[in-house]
């Protein structure tokens, strides 16, 4: 028996194991987060993810499916320190930082209050993706971009190159932080044990700086990549501090059934929530409209890189659209499998596909022609030698239950 994963791109989730024969040497070339030794002590199954030696799951705790369930039902913690951080702030004159961000980012950063974050992307002039990014407004003119691990160097070069004539200071903070994502309905209860910050006052996609695990002035953000409530915390990246914080989080989460979670669960969780993964749903070959990310693209604001091309593309109409599929016969649709219409013509491709633990079905995202994108359309996915039926279904596949708004006292 030999493991045959779908073709590996630099950013594919189906990554090479770091522990296969002959990679003992290679593993010294892989980048490591400060918690690498911790993951190995926990006997995590490690993989090469975009040049990083990362945990894909922790078999000793039950593995991927158990981790996925923990996040949906309780709480899980992820080491996401491989992600990058770019600080962009003004140089000499007020407005310089904001102007730089507005030039680079497709969403409207001027709408952000200090302490607020938004999902956005940096685009190439042709309207396709350099990377997706969470933009945090730290100050009037001071912003933090949190970016993907696999595009760290590309992104920092892109930011520097495209703002060199502008009045801003660009700093790469990527190695300065250990970033932990604490995710799930009980995440807030865990984080409450670690900080005196009034967390109920931090709404989704807002953040603050506060003391956490006795570390002063740390970024605590109500963000995440799982479709659940949760927080991402950014602590100093020295190994001792990182391990202490990790252990404190695990201890605090024990009563809620916390599990350490790897990239495997991270992928299945974000897929159910229909969140894009760079190199799959978004890439340098895919534009904003095709990816269905219209709501994060503010065409009305002043010019940003890619705006002109997006205007033309909008007028020209879509050639393909991102849809959600549910496989209706036996078989798992996986990344890069081909999609066919009822007549047997090849019409599209799966960008991400996996069994969905929460839904008990096999799901996928795929690019198909707009004529085949309507809900209820019958398509076929080529799973090795066979073509299996798949249905276009609504997305996100999973949406977390919102708490009902509290009733005012005495109301009828």
């Amino acid at each position: 028996m030999e493991s045959v994963t779908t073709p590996i791109t630099n950013l594919s989730m189906n990554a090479e194991p770091s522990t296969s024969p002959g990679t003992a040497e290679r593993s010294t070339e892989l980048r490591k987060t400060p918690l690498n030794a911790m993951h190995r002590r926990l006997r995590a199954r490690m993989v090469n993810f975009g040049g990083w030696d990362m945990p894909v799951e922790y078999p000793a705790n039950g593995g991927l499916i158990a981790e996925h369930k923990a996040v949906r039902n309780g709480v899980g913690v992820f080491d996401v320190s491989h992600m990058g951080d770019i600080r962009i702030r003004t140089g000499k004159t007020p407005g310089g930082g904001l102007a730089a961000v507005q030039h680079l980012s497709m969403n409207d950063a001027a709408k952000l209050a200090i302490g607020q974050a938004q999902y956005s992307a940096m685009l190439y002039p042709q309207g396709t993706f350099v990377d997706d990014v969470i933009v945090h407004r730290m100050g009037e003119d001071d912003f933090l971009f949190v970016i993907n691990a696999g595009t760290r160097e590309k992104d920092i070069s892109w930011v520097r190159e495209n703002t060199k004539e502008m009045d801003c200071v660009v700093e790469d903070y990527s190695d300065a932080y250990t970033q932990l994502a604490i995710q799930g309905p009980r995440a807030v209860d865990v984080v409450k044990k670690l900080t005196d910050v009034h967390l109920d006052g931090i709404k989704n996609y807002w953040f603050t700086h506060g003391t956490i695990c006795e570390l002063p002035c740390r970024l605590i953000a109500r963000t995440g990549y799982t479709g659940e409530d949760g927080f991402e915390i950014y602590v100093p990246s020295d190994v001792e501090t990182s391990e202490t914080v990790w252990n404190t989080v695990i201890e605090a989460g024990k009563e809620f059934g916390i599990l350490p979670c790897g990239l495997g669960a991270r992928n299945t969780l974000r897929l159910e929530a229909k969140m894009a993964l760079y190199g799959h749903e978004i890439s340098e070959n895919i534009n904003v409209w095709e990816a269905g990310l219209d709501r994060y693209c503010q065409m009305e604001k002043r010019d940003f890189i890619g705006r002109a091309a997006l205007g033309k593309l909008s007028a020209a109409g879509l050639k393909r659209e991102l849809v959600g599929l549910q496989v209706m016969e036996r078989g798992i649709a996986r990344d890069e499998y081909k999609v066919f219409d009822a007549a047997g013509e090849e019409v599209g491709v799966i960008t991400s596909g996996s069994p969905s633990t929460t839904l008990g079905a096999n799901i996928a995202l795929a690019y198909v022609p707009p004529a085949l994108a309507a809900l209820g359309t019958n398509l076929f996915v080529e799973v090795r030698a066979q073509r299996v039926k798949a249905l276009v279904v609504p997305t996100p596949f999973y949406k977390r239950a919102r708490k009902p708004a509290p009733q005012a006292a005495g109301s009828n």
Binding site: M1, E2, S3, V4, T5, T6, M13, N14, T19, P21, A24, S27, R40, R45, V56, E57, P59, G63, L64, I65, G264, T268, R330, G331, I332, R334, S354, P355, T357, R384
Partner: protein
């Protein structure tokens, strides 16, 4: 979990339990632990001819597809129906209830080329050491 002394084993982590010209084939405990939770199994129908070294089916976890290679050649008599609805049996009982196919051996001498349980145990122990490097 030990490796049954009367089975034979391959480097690709299949096991063979042969008796009276019929071989039962499955994947080993090492294989299932490397895979993680098994969610899907694809097996050949009765009558299919297996060729040594060629893929005859697949086992899938959430993350990956793994092909299964024929350790010996022969004709499929039966595929295990339990694995259709209960693929997780591969994780809980890989050497017993999770047998995959029963075949009529076309060349019993092929069994001599396979590892015995002692050799296989040594083989996976070495893999374990490599993995923790």
């Amino acid at each position: 979990m030990g490796y049954p002394a009367n089975y034979r084993y391959t480097k690709e982590h299949e096991w063979v339990n042969a008796k009276d010209g019929v071989a039962t084939i499955g994947i080993t405990d090492y294989a299932q632990s490397e895979l993680g939770d098994v969610v899907f199994v694809e097996l050949p129908a009765a009558g299919k001819k297996l060729e040594t070294g060629k893929s005859f089916g697949s086992v899938e976890s959430v993350k990956a597809v793994s092909e299964i290679y024929a350790p010996v050649s022969g004709e499929v008599l039966e595929a295990n129906p339990e694995l259709h609805d209960k693929p997780e049996t591969i994780n809980s009982d890989p050497h017993g209830a999770a047998w995959m196919v029963k075949i009529k051996l076309s060349n019993p001498a092929e069994l001599e080329k396979l590892m015995d349980s002692g050799a296989y145990e040594t083989y996976v122990a070495a893999k374990g050491k490599e993995a923790s490097a």
